[in-house]
């Protein structure tokens, strides 16, 4: 009963906001080129479903590719940091730099280097995702419970076996938090890339619609983007909970 209610609550909030939005727009007679009312946005979503779908696929593809590569590089970075101690002073600043330079500032350069296609957006997404994944995974690997390491050492485990059977699984809950953050910020990379220069994707569509004062289409694209992001988050969260069912407490 309470579980069903937990799903219901955000839905109620969502419906409440829509009603308020509709009420304000109609009540205050806001011109539709400033804020369109939800009903006309919804109509636009239906009438232009094909167009939105086409561009959403592009953005989703960029996000997913960026996520895959970003997670891969992040995990590799974390493993390198943990196992090659002498490389740490060189790599840690590099890791920080990837975060210190705003991806917005890098975007034009990346366009120049990698063109207006998907590659530049994927790279931008990777740059954004890389940091949370690498730091969380690094922390997870470093904070392996000492008791487990003691045990593994007295049992005569080799370092590869200890990584595979003890350190890696023990880092998974931390890595999962990194992944949850990564999934949330992934759309930023993709959409910023599309804004700076592209010929497809939801960011591109929003820019075009905005320029033509098709504000309802812009809001429709925004809504689709939000649905994609939230969907991706809940899917990831569900998957992680399924894959990492144990409690993380170190009693």
């Amino acid at each position: 009963m309470s579980k069903r209610f937990a799903v219901l609550k955000p839905l109620l909030v969502f419906i409440g906001i829509l009603l308020l939005w509709q009420g304000l727009v109609v009540g205050l007679e806001v011109p539709s080129f400033i804020i369109p009312d939800p009903v006309s946005v919804f109509k636009r979503m239906v009438s232009d479903a094909g167009l939105l779908w086409e561009h959403a696929l592009v953005t989703m593809a960029e996000m997913l590719m960026g996520l895959t590569l970003g997670v891969l590089f992040g995990v590799l970075m974390a493993l390198t940091l943990v196992y090659f101690v002498s490389l740490r002073p060189w790599l840690l600043p590099l890791l920080l730099v990837t975060q210190a330079i705003p991806v917005f500032a890098l975007a034009p350069v990346l366009m120049l280097w990698f063109g207006y296609g998907m590659a530049s957006k994927v790279i931008m997404t990777v740059l954004i995702i890389f940091f949370p994944v690498a730091t969380c995974c690094y922390d997870g690997l470093r904070q392996t419970h000492q008791g487990w390491l003691d045990l593994a050492q007295t049992m005569g485990g080799g370092s590869w076996a200890v990584l595979r059977l003890v350190r890696w699984p023990s880092a998974l809950p931390a890595l999962a938090s990194g992944l949850r953050v990564a999934v949330v910020v992934a759309p930023i990379g993709a959409v910023v890339g599309e804004w700076v220069g592209s010929s497809a994707g939801l960011g591109y569509l929003m820019l075009q619609a905005n320029a033509r004062l098709w504000v309802d289409l812009m809001f429709a694209a925004l809504t689709v983007l939000a649905i994609c992001s939230v969907g991706l988050y809940y899917f990831t969260d569900l998957l992680l909970k399924r894959l990492i069912p144990w409690q993380t407490s170190h009693h």
Binding site: H145, G147, W148, D150, L151, A152, Q153, T154, M155, G156, G157, G158, W160, A161, V162, L165, V166, P169, S170, L172, I244, P245, W246, Q247, T248, H251
Partner: protein, 255 residues
């Protein structure tokens, strides 16, 4: 079977000498119990015997030898206060973790031999948890978890068992039951047990030492009478417990 000897061992963290010039013998097939207050360095001593002290800021002196001339490394099983069960692994996987850690296969999921599996099930039967083989540790009680840890220690089948307050986190009744079980199942092994509980040391130890002072020194061995695990209705045991408790309490108030 072989005795284990500690010759003039000492250990220091930077300037802090935890203990020095300690001599101690672990008699083959017997329980040696080390009693001491918190922070006196008993866990450090045990870790040193286990070969778990390798930080660069720690200075180690003395030698640990076995009287059969072989090194001790590779012949110990380690059991700590926290059961150290891997929370993502089933009870069965936890018991057999040593076997899997020692296989040198690179990527393939290391399969256990049926002989090893049979042995693991047998160990589980010995600690009375055979029906929990497929359960995750989070679904077990504290006592059950420590029994799994005991089964894991048995599965390793090493001649020397080093235990660091293995029953410390348990309630009194569970603790007594587990002491009996450990005594029964570890018969024939050379055991070194660290504890702050005088009763535990007196029930289980063939020889009981008290580690005290800074740097820590060992007192002469107390050898309580009778076979282990000693029963609680033994008057001499209770008197000794009183004496030791008084000594420990006095130490704490001085420190």
């Amino acid at each position: 079977m072989f005795d284990v000897h500690l010759h003039k061992v000492g250990l220091a963290y930077g300037d802090l000498q935890v203990f020095q010039q300690l001599d101690l013998s672990l008699k083959a097939g017997q329980w040696t119990c080390l009693l001491g207050g918190s922070g006196v360095g008993k866990t450090t001593l045990l870790r040193m015997v286990a070969g778990l002290v390798d930080q660069s800021d720690i200075r180690v002196e003395g030698r640990v030898t076995c009287d059969d001339g072989q090194p001790l490394a590779g012949r110990i099983a380690w059991m700590s206060q926290q059961d150290s069960l891997l929370p993502w692994a089933t009870v069965l996987d936890n018991i057999t973790i040593g076997e899997r850690l020692r296989t040198r296969k690179f990527l393939r999921r290391s399969r256990l031999s049926s002989e090893a599996l049979d042995r693991a099930h047998h160990m589980l039967e010995l600690v009375g948890l055979d029906e929990k083989a497929r359960v995750l540790p989070q679904n077990l009680s504290g006592g059950q978890r420590q029994r799994v840890a005991l089964a894991r220690t048995l599965f390793e089948d090493r001649p020397v068992v080093l235990m660091d307050e293995p029953f410390g986190a348990l309630d009194a009744i569970t603790r007594l039951n587990l002491q009996d079980m450990a005594c029964d199942l570890l018969a024939g092994k050379t055991v070194m047990l660290i504890t702050h509980d005088p009763l535990e040391a007196l029930r289980l130890g063939h020889a009981v030492y008290h580690l005290r002072g800074h740097p820590a020194q060992l007192t002469d061995a107390i050898t309580p009478p009778g076979k282990i695990p000693r029963s609680l209705d033994n008057a001499e045991l209770m008197t000794l417990q009183g004496v030791l408790l008084d000594r420990l309490r006095h130490e704490e108030s001085v420190a």
